[in-house]
Symmetry: C2
């Protein structure tokens, strides 16, 4: 792992995470019914910061190998989908489209983990907490959909 | 270049571009003063689709080499920043923060181009149109800021 690569991948993670910072949970989300196991709001930035470090370390370890092609392509795909979810869910307030993005994100994270693992087991393992967290986020998005059918079917119009 | 890598990088581009599709220019943007050289609205999706193909081809060519590390890390950073601009500018209607994101995007695209070029000249050249387009986008963002100081200083509140 080269430190400059770790820093660049970490910057990519935080650039993606900035979409989360600019569309924070507001009254719309607070008023939705949520399952009893919903993680507290404060846990999300803590979890994401930890995950970003793991994701960047995994990428930096594999980037310097001569088998970086497939894991790097998949890593780029998952970070783009990661950046997309918050604007869809919290920006557009589209619960159903958010579920579709999360499904695509889950698949891309799982594929990235497998591709990393084939090159370097530790890098693959560093993606396990991320896959677990995206699974929780998917379950939460799905539960919010189920518990709030009106909000899911009639997202509020966005100010243009 | 391996085709599966090209397809994965292209999917990453379109995932980033989806933020553009979900925050299209609306009445707020239409009513802003724009410079005379503003490209017509229809050109943007055409230009981006062309650029995505060039960007994915450049990444796929370099990904299979044994010097992929730095260009792949920078490619991931630029695609995350690319996904971020539209939610900031068209989602939050933050002209000044949009300018900051575009500046970071321009730097990351330029760095990616140089890193690609050092591995494969054609891949670097495939990033030239992208850098040119981001330069135009930056000039446009800057001109909109200058021509609409009130809108830049007082972005409309977002519905939460």
């Amino acid at each position: 792992m080269i430190w400059i690569l770790f820093v660049i991948f970490l910057l990519a993670c935080f650039a993606a995470g900035t979409t989360g910072a600019i569309f924070p949970p507001g009254p719309w989300y607070r008023d939705l019914s949520k399952p009893s196991w919903t993680p507290p709001d404060w846990l999300f930035p803590v979890a994401w910061t930890t995950l970003y470090i793991c994701m960047a370390a995994a990428a930096a370890r594999v980037a310097v190998t001569d088998q970086a092609g497939l894991p790097m392509a998949l890593w780029a795909l998952q970070i783009a989908l990661n950046a997309l979810w918050t604007p869809v869910f919290f920006g557009l307030k589209q619960i159903k489209a958010g579920m579709a993005v999360l499904g695509a994100l889950w698949l891309s994270v799982a594929a990235t983990m497998v591709a990393l693992w084939q090159v370097d087991a530790l890098s693959g393992a560093l993606f396990l907490p991320y896959l677990a967290w995206v699974s929780v986020a998917g379950a939460l998005n799905g539960a919010v959909w189920r518990l709030n059918p009106d909000a899911a079917n009639n997202p509020p119009a966005m100010a243009r």
